[in-house]
């Protein structure tokens, strides 16, 4: 990454961090209903990967997917408006936190059934291959998804059909509350499975945006050349609990401390410093991101609620919901 690219990546990560903080605060104050699964701590995975992709490549994410929507160009305002059930939300308030989608930018959805979107990503990659478009699909998923059947079916299909797809595991060590190691027969839940599908795998520092970017760039190039899928296990950590107001008491204090000291924003700042980027330049980006998110919060709060008729739109492609004559 050039210093300018790294600076942009840094700003995007700050934007995500601030948006997640806003989502948390808005949830606590009752303005966000239902649930949220915040990705604070996971920023480098989304931004590093996205910055290595073409604008027309596809992304499939999980319910912990705010960072992927933002990294693919959804604005903090449309994301927060969705969380706050506003008509201006990304999905017209019909999706919510777990289903952020920005299809115009190839971000084809966030899915809340663990593992379900891996076959979809394989299918989007199959489609790209059939159309000869040169596009690549990337599925992001948690460590917990590596024990569900759809993960294994998708990896095998992608490998045997040599599809241009990347499987990027965000291994944050926990499922909801149980450590992944307590329920998995191999130490690296994603990467250790890849050999069974004859698929190359990388285990990387998911909190270093440069490492993520470079690893994904290599895998994307392989995929575009027709050399097939790659699995990437990005080690990372969530800064909040699993969802809602989970205080994450099940995580040992020393582990939390170790990971908090390895914050992806700090890692990026250190890299910027080493590249000789002046601290004021970095601070400018901090302020700009903060201002964007502050404005987004205000705008989302002022946005209208959805009209009731919206409950009956878009079941079908014709925009309606008619099921009988």
């Amino acid at each position: 990454m050039t210093p300018e690219e790294l600076l942009d990546a840094y700003e995007e990560m700050v934007l995500i961090r601030r948006t997640e903080k806003a989502a948390h605060d808005l949830f606590m104050s009752g303005l966000v209903k239902g649930t949220t699964h915040l990705a604070a701590g996971h920023e480098a995975v989304a931004v590093g990967a996205s910055s290595a992709m073409r604008p027309d490549d596809y992304v499939f994410a999980t319910y912990r997917g705010h960072h992927h929507a933002l990294a693919r160009g959804a604005t903090p305002e449309e994301c927060l408006a969705e969380l706050m059930s506003r008509a201006t939300g990304l999905c017209q308030a019909k999706g919510g936190s777990m289903h952020l989608t920005k299809a115009t930018n190839g971000m084809l959805g966030s899915y809340a059934i663990v593992g379900a979107h891996l076959p979809m990503a394989a299918g989007a990659a199959w489609s790209a291959k059939l159309r000869g478009s040169g596009q690549v699909a990337v599925a992001f998923f948690g460590d917990g998804a590596t024990n569900i059947g759809a993960f294994h079916e998708a990896l095998n299909l992608a490998a045997v059909w040599s599809l241009p797809v990347l499987f990027v595991c965000e291994n944050n060590l926990y499922m909801e509350y149980t450590p992944i190691e307590a329920v998995t027969a191999v130490p690296n839940p994603a990467a250790d499975r890849a050999a069974g599908y004859n698929m190359p795998a990388d285990i990387i520092d998911g909190n270093d945006v440069v490492v993520v970017h470079e690893t994904v760039a290599r895998a994307v190039e392989r995929a575009r050349k027709g050399e097939g899928p790659t699995l990437i296990e990005a080690q990372t950590y969530r800064h909040f609990g699993h969802s809602r107001a989970d205080p994450a008491k099940y995580r040992p204090a020393d582990e939390v401390e170790r990971w908090m000291k390895h914050d992806p924003l700090d890692v990026a700042r250190a890299r910027l410093e080493a590249l000789g980027v002046p601290p004021e330049t970095v601070a400018d980006r901090d302020h700009r991101a903060a201002a964007t998110v502050d404005a987004a919060i205000a705008a989302a709060k002022n946005a209208p609620e959805p009209v009731p008729a919206l409950a009956f739109t878009d079941v079908w492609a014709d925009g309606g919901a008619a099921w009988r004559t």
Binding site: H99, A103, I113, W316
Partner: protein, 330 residues
């Protein structure tokens, strides 16, 4: 020279023909499934496709129902019109997440950002003695889910016409091919034959009792109607052809004439689609009725193996005849 008028055109031929016609006109149509390519399908419903369109458009898959339907969904969201085969409809349970949670909800929950124009074809129903895990009629499974269109044709010609509409539909369609009908034959429809989804067909006109049927139960009902004609009972038979969209207008206007209704469905009585048909009639057609409504449905048991036992639990001509007779005497 082949005499086309005497050509035997089976329901299974119609499936392959219906798919082939669409694949010829639209390069975005592709097929995937287990043993559908070189092997031409375990039910021989994809005969000729691999030969004509090759491995770039007809893909043999691993035994991975989730990957098959999940990949079809991803491809459908990105410009293709995939046709996924699930060998036996019972196996839909192995990928039910996609039919229940993913495919029917994607458009709605994204606020209309995506469409999922795919067809999931599957061999459905009993009558072939395949036992409990390969015989159930499960169209009611799909019927329980808002967001899926459901087709279940009863004749070769309808297979072709409805297949065209299903593949061209921008909505996801579950296409039930009835196993007991595969060997039956009928007329080969002309090129361009298309039956819009959601249009029931009055396959026999009558004045005394309306029978609403689907797929395998259409021919049972027609046979029953034939028998009863000899007893002076005039039976109207409606082939729904699709469960979603459900053509209740045709059903209600038939009851306006007959004032009596029998619903014949192969899926189980508990949760069967007939319950919904009946509830609409009770709600909107109560005053049209002169008698209670009868449902002839699959029994609430798994499907047994022996033919004699299977006949006990799925609709038969005898059961349909009996229901109509009782109703017309009411």
């Amino acid at each position: 020279m082949a005499d086309v008028t005497k050509e035997k055109f089976t329901y299974r031929d119609a499936v392959a023909e219906g798919i082939a016609r669409e694949m010829r006109r639209d390069p975005s149509v592709v097929c995937l499934g287990e043993d559908i390519g070189a092997a031409e399908g375990v039910f021989k419903t994809t005969v000729g496709l691999f030969k004509e369109f090759g491995p770039a458009r007809v893909w043999d898959t691993p035994i991975s129902e989730q990957a098959i339907v999940g990949a079809a969904m991803g491809a459908a969201m990105t410009g293709m019109r995939p046709i996924a085969e699930i060998m036996f409809s019972d196996f839909l349970a192995c990928c039910w997440d996609y039919l229940a949670n993913e495919i029917p909800k994607a458009r709605y929950m994204t606020g209309g950002q995506v469409t999922v124009p795919l067809v999931v074809r599957t061999a459905n129903g009993g009558g072939l003695g395949f036992g409990a895990q390969h015989s159930q009629a499960v169209e009611n499974w799909a019927f329980a889910i808002p967001g899926l269109k459901i087709v279940a044709p009863s004749t070769p010609s309808d297979v072709v016409g409805l297949m065209a509409a299903a593949i061209r539909s921008d909505d996801p369609v579950v296409f039930f091919e009835h196993k007991a009908l595969l060997a039956g034959s009928g007329t080969r429809p002309p090129e361009g034959h298309l039956i819009e989804l959601g249009q029931a067909s009055v396959v026999r006109e009558g004045t005394d009792v309306t029978v609403v049927a689907l797929a395998s139960t259409v021919s049972l009902s027609l046979k029953a109607a034939d028998q009863l004609a000899g007893e002076g009972i005039s039976v109207e038979v409606i082939d729904l052809r699709c469960l979603i969209p459900l053509d209740m207008r045709t059903v209600l206007s038939s009851i306006e004439r007959t004032s009596r209704l029998v619903v014949v469905e192969e899926n189980p009585y508990q949760g069967g689609w007939g319950g919904t048909v009946v509830s609409v009639v009770a709600d909107e057609g109560f005053e049209l009725l002169d008698a209670p409504i009868k449902r002839v449905a699959g029994a609430n048991v798994p499907l047994p193996f022996a033919d004699s036992l299977e006949a006990e639990v799925i609709p038969t001509v005898g059961k349909v005849t009996e229901a109509i007779r009782r109703l017309s005497a009411y």
